[in-house]
């Protein structure tokens, strides 16, 4: 057996016996799917409950607009007394929304002037927005209805005020609406790749030094590059397993779990797309391993290495999170950035788009080149005398 193989099998057996690395592999794999599942259940419940429930609406100055109040009551609104200080109550989150009907409402209304009402809401509180939106829609509905009646009373057809009628055609399928949730998936996959092998790599590098077994190991007749490569390869089954487990869990969430009951639509990701996602993620497995190897070599202790390596997934997270808000078109330049290109490609696969093979190629090659360079750095670091002491 060559040196690489000897090191590989020893580290594989050694780490398979480590419960900690097995649990962390599984735990990191289920983290992303777990979070998405939780979001689907919680947010799904939130939406459906809000929509079916009668709207509880605190109204101040009810006596100023009996007709509006009557209209609201007919539309399944439960009117409540407004708090003494509506703005403060909304700001503190005591109530979602308050409708204020000023004293001069009746006067303006009677005179045919625009009568003003106020809707007090806090747009920074997402959970309050559905109710605020419902209140606003109802008031606008009332305004349109009253306006139309006034025109009719003057013998004018209400349609003449609609110079332009806007009709929004929503082409989003239930699938693409669900992409709000799916857009988080690429990042969770990157995270699974970056965390899956971390425990194993720290154990093999910083851990080996801390257990005082590095110095005797280095005295054996084996080149340092063989040692680095053997250890790196031994971490790959763990990170790959994390990736596979993560994909399987996502598939279960989207294809098996009754998402429809919560979201009103079913998500689905087909097996071929999952397979393609897996293949696109594979180069990142090398990248993550090489990067962690370099970092763990710098650090003095197991604990120090763990601190750094656990923060590592946040770096690919930043462009990934930007991706969720800023739609960046997949370009060759984006593909050059390891982890960023992969997240874009995964996004495309989730949307069922056809991938540009040049993009796939650039992403794979650039990621593997960066990984290769990092492996060379790790080998260089292992060749230095300081490797014994763990100094910079």
């Amino acid at each position: 057996m060559s040196g690489v193989t000897v090191v590989f099998f020893k580290e594989l057996v050694d780490n398979l016996r480590d419960r900690r690395s097995l649990f962390s592999t599984l735990g990191y794999a289920l983290l992303g799917p777990g979070i998405i599942l939780l979001l689907i259940v919680v947010m799904g419940n939130m939406f459906s409950e809000e929509m079916e429930k009668p709207l509880e609406l605190p109204v101040s100055g009810r006596e100023n607009a009996p007709a509006l109040v009557q209209f609201l009551k007919q539309r399944n609104v439960v009117l409540q007394d407004a708090p003494a200080d509506p703005r403060e109550a909304v700001r503190k989150g005591d109530v979602d929304v308050v409708l204020i009907i000023p004293d001069d409402y009746g006067e303006d209304f009677g005179a045919g002037q625009p009568a003003t009402v106020q809707i007090v809401a806090d747009s920074s509180r997402t959970s309050a927005m559905p109710n605020a939106q419902r209140a606003r829609n109802l008031v606008e509905q009332y305004a349109r209805q009253t306006g139309a009646l006034r025109l009719l009373a003057r013998g004018v057809s209400p349609t003449v005020v609609n110079a332009v009628s806007v009709e929004t055609v929503d082409v989003s399928t239930p699938q693409s609406q669900a992409l709000i949730f799916l857009s988080m998936l690429p990042y969770f996959l990157v995270m699974a790749v970056f965390l899956g092998g971390a425990t194993v790599i720290i154990d093999m590098t910083a851990g080996e030094r801390e257990r005082n077994s590095l110095e005797p190991l280095l005295i054996n007749p084996i080149e340092r590059w063989q040692l680095v490569l053997g250890k790196l390869l031994a971490s790959l089954p763990f990170s790959t397993a994390t990736l596979i487990a993560s994909l399987a869990a996502f598939a279960a969430v989207f294809n098996v779990f009754p998402v429809e009951r919560f979201m009103g639509m079913q998500l689905s990701v087909d097996v071929l797309a999952l397979l393609n996602i897996f293949l696109i993620c594979l180069p990142m497995v090398f990248l993550a391993g090489a990067l962690q190897m370099v970092i763990a070599t710098f650090t003095r202790t197991h604990k120090e290495a763990q601190t750094y390596v656990n923060w590592l997934p946040l770096i690919p997270a930043l462009p990934g999170m930007a991706l969720a808000f800023l739609p960046v078109k997949p370009t060759v330049w984006a593909m050059l950035i390891p982890t960023f290109g992969q997240q874009m490609l995964i996004n495309q696969l989730m949307r069922g788009e056809v991938l540009d093979s040049a993009h796939v190629l650039v992403s794979i090659v650039s990621t593997l080149l960066v990984a290769g360079a990092l492996i060379l750095v790790a080998i260089h670091l292992y060749g230095r005398e300081d490797i014994l002491f763990g100094k910079k």
């Binding site: 040196g3 020893k10 005797p216 190991l217 005295i219 007749p221 014994l388």
Partner: protein, 243 residues
């Protein structure tokens, strides 16, 4: 056979070695004696190719530790200062790993492991995972894996550190046996009595330099005293660090 000539090594401001020269022949036990921090461990690390000397040469069986590291490593069995074993592997698996790193195939390796288990009296720990081994048990594993490839040169850094009386005696027997098999045994210690009972040849190191060398008798003659301990103190010039 080990030949060391005029080794110098610095770590930043610290001048660890300032000209170490000695010769350790086959079939003899050579002791490196010196107070803590004298440069014993640094000298040994140069010999097992982990540190490159700034100045000077070191040869093992004629191979240069700098230019021919792999050949040197094939010819030495080392028990370094750090002697951690893998806690999740059994004693036998720990030893087997080193045998494979030396390129031994299974046919040669397994009988050799069995022989070492017999030799070092490791029957009760051979199939147990090393997690929870006592210092003595860990040391046996470390010795076994160091000599799994039957090296002609054995380098031991403070081999009896932390051992109880019985284990120390067993360790001394092992060292003598290695010598009787014709190997070159080089071991470091800061304990004078130990060096005195074991060594055929003593090299005294202090502050990074060799300050005296010879058989126990020769050292007594040089220092002009019958008491070996007085001889050491006289040669080193201080009692600091000796037991």
């Amino acid at each position: 056979m080990i030949q060391v000539t005029n080794l110098h090594k610095s770590f930043g401001e610290v001048h660890a070695l300032r000209g170490v020269t000695f010769h350790a022949p086959d079939g003899q036990i050579t002791g490196l004696l010196g107070p803590n921090g004298a440069g014993k461990t640094t000298t040994l690390r140069v010999l097992y190719t982990l540190l490159a000397p700034d100045v000077g040469d070191a040869f093992v069986d004629g191979f240069d530790v700098r230019a021919q590291a792999l050949q040197v490593q094939e010819r030495i069995g080392a028990l370094p200062d750090a002697r951690g074993v893998y806690p999740r592997l059994t004693a036998r698996e720990n030893v087997r790993y080193y045998g494979r790193l030396h390129g031994l195939d299974n046919a040669a390796l397994e009988p050799r492991i069995d022989a070492l288990i017999e030799l070092l009296d490791m029957h009760d720990i051979a199939e147990r995972r090393a997690d929870g081994f006592s210092t003595g048990e860990r040391l046996k594993v470390a010795i076994a894996r160091a000599i799994i490839h039957d090296p002609a040169n054995v380098l031991l850094d403070e081999p009896t550190n932390g051992l109880d009386v019985m284990s120390t005696r067993a360790m001394r027997d092992t060292i003598r046996r290695l010598r009787d098999e014709g190997r070159c045994v080089l071991f470091s210690s800061h304990i004078m009595q130990e060096v005195a009972v074991l060594c055929d040849h003593i090299v005294i190191i202090a502050r990074g330099k060799v300050v005296g060398a010879g058989s126990p008798d020769e050292l007594r003659r040089i220092a002009n005293t019958d008491d070996l301990e007085d001889a050491f103190v006289d040669i080193i010039g201080t009692e600091e660090g000796l037991e």
